[in-house]
């Protein structure tokens, strides 16, 4: 049957695609949720989870569980809005709330994304130095590699390579298993909430929520679903993709926390970064576990270093209306590819240039992400209930209530952090 056929006759009544057809369709849709979710486990995320496990043991694992549920909810909403409206998040904000709202959101997002991309490159530098490779070799190679991938690769090649990169996260599972964790304590920490409201605990709770649910991840998944040209018929499969991506993100975070809680927490050690955790793991869990941790760090940084400039490029084109797409020719999508290259180059330069103090930059970046997250979540909530945007597919009362709960939780964690 072809597209020439009358629509009403396009599908035989009662005919089902079958298990094999459903599986193929599901595999073809996989991508946006997995990439957006897994790239949240970037060096900043791994550092946060490492600190969570090292300083607080298994006690605060429940925060990771709730963050993962919030990630499922809002990544699903973002991909759904992308499929239904055919627009990225920043474009949709401009369309519904005006050019100034769109431009303001984009400005904060671009600055925050560039800072975060610098953090990813810093992760490449730290991880490679743990493996004995100088940052002055590793960072330019990483920058050239991710740029070449986006500039020269087709959509599917980019997607396949990024997904392959994500497989490096298995390293964290291996590192945690080598530490022989106490599964009973981990289960209790995951399911029984406990919080002392001390500054250290509220700080790490806010950081965990913020690193799991990031503004760039939300804008990326929506634009990527548009670029992948998913249709409304793909939405059930896309939901599987989102849930899978978010659950894997949570599982990896879980193993990072467990690895550090079992090895570093009992000795009362304190760490500042994920590379500290890799170094500290070596004498306790063995060289292999420490090495796996470092490999995971480099892989996580590379994945996020590829996704962040992409997310920024999609958002810039969303606002300006310029053509965006991984399969567009350079001549047709100069703004898209130019933004991608510029963000990667600037992030790499910030890491390699001497006399640039990264720490204040990274702290400011996290603050910007936190500032942007709540308004973005509110905008998404309002857009999802707007029939002019979503047509007949507006969010139902249960989904809206869940969104409001997440927004309240994220706002509360930000307030606790400031207080």
């Amino acid at each position: 049957m072809t597209a020439d056929a009358a629509p009403s006759a396009s599908r035989a009544p009662g005919r089902s695609p079958g298990n094999r057809g459903r599986l193929i369709a599901s595999l073809a849709v996989l991508g946006p949720g997995l990439l957006a979710g897994l790239s949240d486990d970037d060096p900043a995320g791994i550092t946060t989870y490492s600190v969570l496990g090292t300083d607080h043991g298994y006690r605060l694992l429940w925060v990771l569980l709730l963050s993962t549920l919030a990630l499922i909810l809002f990544h699903n909403l973002a991909s759904r809005m992308g499929v239904i409206t055919g627009q990225g998040l920043i474009g949709l904000i401009r369309h519904r709330y005006g050019v100034r709202a769109g431009a303001a959101a984009l400005l904060v997002l671009v600055v925050a994304n560039t800072g975060t991309a610098a953090a990813e490159m810093a992760g490449v530098a730290a991880g490679s130095e743990l493996l004995g490779v100088s940052r002055y070799v590793a960072v330019p190679i990483a920058a050239a590699g991710v740029t070449a991938l986006v500039l020269l690769g087709s959509f599917h090649r980019v997607e396949h390579l990024l997904l392959a990169m994500a497989s490096v996260f298995v390293a964290y599972v291996g590192a945690a298993l080598l530490a022989h964790p106490d599964w009973g304590a981990a289960g209790r920490g995951l399911l029984v909430p406990a919080l002392s409201f001390s500054h250290a605990e509220t700080g790490i709770v806010a950081a965990t929520v913020g690193t799991t649910l990031a503004p760039w991840g939300l804008s990326f998944i929506q634009s990527y679903a548009v670029d992948k040209r998913l249709t409304v018929r793909d939405l059930p499969y896309e939901r599987v993709d989102v849930v899978l991506g978010a659950v894997l993100t949570g599982v990896i975070g879980f193993f990072v926390v467990v690895g550090c809680a079992e090895t570093l927490h009992p000795d009362g050690l304190h760490i500042q970064s994920a590379s500290d955790a890799a170094v500290a793991l070596r004498p306790i869990a063995g060289d292999f576990a420490g090495g796996l941790f470092a490999v995971g760090l480099v892989g996580a940084a590379l994945l996020a270093a590829a996704v962040l400039p992409l997310s920024t490029a999609y958002s810039v084109c969303d606002l300006t209306g310029s053509q965006a797409g991984l399969d567009s020719r350079f001549a047709d999508a100069r703004v898209f590819y130019g933004t991608n290259v510029a963000v990667t180059a600037l992030a790499s330069a910030l890491v390699l240039l001497p006399h640039v103090h990264l720490l204040p930059l990274l702290v400011a970046t996290q603050a910007l992400n936190a500032v942007l997250l709540v308004p973005l979540l509110v905008a998404m909530h309002l857009l999802s209930r707007d029939p002019d945007v979503m047509g007949g597919r507006t969010a139902g009362p249960a989904a809206s209530m869940a969104q409001l709960l997440v927004i309240a939780g994220v706002t509360a964690s930000a307030v606790l952090l400031i207080a």
């Binding site: 049957m1 597209a3 020439d4 057809g21 090649r157 040209r229 249709t231 209306g321 991984l326 020719r329």
Partner: protein, 255 residues
């Protein structure tokens, strides 16, 4: 000419002097190629009041709407009508001559013999930056647009605009050549492309589908609900671009 952003937000008085309402949107009928205002929407969205254009009073010197006679609640626009703020301003459009997508930065209106008509839309960064600058909307009127795209040369990609243009026989989408329609289908999101394909006369649809890149044809069939599972994903750049443009021909733009 009047920029839409100068009109929106103005307060109009009821002729009887009982109330003042803020101008929320302009209702335009796209049956005529350039689009003619049929009325204004006043007030908040939930209680928006539709005022037919014949009941709007203009300022004698500036030509700006200042008063309205009466209005009545009207929840939705129907058929070939669209709302300029909701469906056109800041939304994505497809330029049928240049065969590319863009985003509308300003809508320019013109008073001709008492009728408010859409002179055209302005796209591009220049117009967007002009709106971002802290200048009074009234001053924007003096900044003449460099180039305007008439409604007859664009296809609106917002849901309301897309449907209004599909419903109107005079819209450019119904005057495109086979190649032109194939290009438009290639640029539209899959579900909107399927909606357009369903509206095409059967013979024209057949010609258009033959012109599509095979992968876009697959995608269209999927969206129409008649497709088999997707082909093996491409892994080589040389297999073609994501947009999978149909072959070029000499007929750019409307037939």
């Amino acid at each position: 000419m009047i920029p839409l952003t100068r009109l929106i937000g103005r307060r109009l008085s009821e002729a009887a002097g009982r109330s003042r309402q803020r101008l929320r949107d302009v209702v335009v009928d796209v049956t005529e190629p350039d689009g003619v205002a049929t009325g204004l929407l006043l007030g908040r969205s939930a209680h928006a009041r539709f005022v037919p254009w014949r009941d709007v009073r203009l300022h004698p010197r500036t030509g700006m709407p200042t008063q309205f006679v009466d209005g009545h609640p009207r929840a939705v626009v129907t058929g070939s009508e669209l709302l300029l703020v909701r469906d056109v301003l800041d939304s994505r459009v497809y330029d049928v001559r240049a065969r590319r997508t863009d985003r509308v930065a300003e809508v320019w209106l013109e008073l001709r013999e008492g009728r408010l008509e859409v002179a055209g839309v302005e796209v591009g960064a220049r117009a967007m930056v002009r709106r971002l600058l802290p200048i009074e909307p009234s001053d924007r009127a003096s900044t003449a647009p460099r180039m305007l795209l008439p409604l007859s040369a664009i296809h609106l990609m917002s849901p309301g605009g897309h449907r209004a243009q599909l419903s109107s026989a005079g819209s450019p989408v119904h005057r495109l050549s086979g190649a032109g329609t194939a290009h438009l289908l290639t640029h539209l999101p899959p579900d909107a492309a399927a909606e357009l394909a369903r509206r095409l006369p059967e013979q024209h649809r057949r010609r258009v589908v033959q012109r599509l890149h095979p992968r876009v044809g697959d995608r269209l069939r999927q969206a129409l609900g008649s497709g088999s599972p997707a082909r093996r994903p491409r892994t080589r750049r040389t297999d073609g671009w994501r947009l999978f443009l149909p072959p070029e021909d000499d007929h750019k733009g409307p037939r």
